[in-house]
């Protein structure tokens, strides 16, 4: 990245590539639509600010997920008092018949998890390997694998739907 134009182009590419994963992540951290938009903006703002220093030492995917989860966890620390009085996840109810019940239940189950477990399972659900999750979180890969095994047992269909 040598010019502002390159920087802007690269940012636009990252937005296209990671828009959906980041929307899903925001849905797991924020209960209200307006908060999800706020968090989404904060994540990409942090990506935009970190982009000039990105030299490609890490994969783009783990780099973006690191920023996203760091932003989400600190964002939640700021929002915690407000969230405590708000209703649970209601995002998909406006889409009526198109609701994928399974996905909504999964999202609710993930949103109810403690922050550490939620971080790990979100990364796993997005398709990251234990080694990549270790790279994102700083937790040892073996520990990640053990914890994921426990968390996934709690997410089996009959558990999620209950």
């Amino acid at each position: 990245m040598t010019t502002a134009q390159d920087h802007t182009t690269r940012f636009a590419e990252l937005m296209v590539e990671f828009e959906r994963p980041m929307r899903r992540l925001c849905g797991a951290y924020a209960t209200r639509g307006v908060d999800r938009d706020d968090l989404f903006q904060e994540i990409f703002l942090a990506v935009w600010r970190a982009l000039p220093a990105f030299r490609g030492e890490a994969s783009t995917r783990t780099w973006v997920y690191r920023i996203a989860h760091n932003v989400a966890l600190t964002w939640q620390a700021r929002q915690r008092r407000r969230d405590a009085t708000e209703s649970p996840l209601t995002e998909d109810t406006s889409r009526g018949a198109e609701i994928d019940v399974r996905r909504l239940e999964l999202k609710r189950a993930v949103a109810r998890m403690p922050p550490g477990d939620r971080t790990l399972i979100l990364l796993w659900l997005e398709g990251l390997s234990a080694a990549e999750i270790a790279d994102v979180t700083g937790i040892k890969a073996a520990t990640v694998a053990v914890r994921l095994s426990r968390i996934r047992r709690a997410l089996q269909p009959h558990e999620v739907m209950s």
Partner: protein
């Protein structure tokens, strides 16, 4: 990957793709927010420079040429308080930036943010102390006014000064409490993330 894993991941990712227009608008909002934030920070820093370049020299001149030792001492205290306030504001801004989340791994990021929030909380908690020279200087001016000029003027200025002192104290204590809550929440997350599996 097991069938259960495939099912969970497939369910998780089964969302409609956003339109290109939505993505373009979202990118525009991010860049706008960045511009606004940078402008706000620049304004704060310029305000500090203006205070140091214009306001403090005036106070120092008054400290050197005041009508009485009490007044000269008051202006000297106020100049010292202004410098302390500007430096504290800049330090606070610097710590705020260092506390912002970046591309470090989550554990390292949380540790750094917790430390920075702790520093910011300490600065906010002690704000009443490092801003006290300004208010103490005004109190000295009130004493001089009471002795040499008008009691009503001294009482009015004194009341405004005390109200501002208390108000700033309450504001900074609340800010410190909010920072403390954020720090404790992040410490809990850190402990949970780094805890036994």
């Amino acid at each position: 990957m097991s069938d259960d894993a495939s099912t969970l991941r497939a369910a998780w990712m089964s969302e409609a793709a956003p339109s290109k227009d939505d993505i373009r608008k979202a990118a525009g909002r991010v860049l706008d927010k960045d511009r606004v934030d940078r402008l706000r920070e620049r304004r704060l820093r310029i305000a500090g420079v203006v205070a140091l370049v214009f306001f403090v020299p005036v106070l120092l001149w008054a400290a050197a040429h005041g009508v009485a030792p009490l007044v000269r001492g008051a202006y000297a205290l106020m100049a010292a308080g202004c410098v302390a306030a500007v430096v504290a504001e800049w330090v606070y801004l610097g710590w705020s930036k260092r506390a912002l989340p970046g591309p470090d791994d989550t554990l390292s990021q949380l540790q750094r943010t917790v430390f920075m929030l702790d520093c910011q909380q300490w600065l906010a908690r002690t704000a009443a102390l490092w801003s006290s020279p300004v208010f103490a200087g005004v109190v000295m001016i009130c004493v001089w006014l009471y002795r040499e000029r008008t009691a009503a003027g001294a009482v009015t200025l004194g009341a405004v000064n005390i109200a501002a002192w208390i108000g700033s104290g309450v504001f900074t204590r609340r800010a410190a409490a909010a920072l403390g809550r954020r720090r404790r929440h992040l410490e809990d997350v850190l402990a949970e993330l780094d805890g036994p599996s």
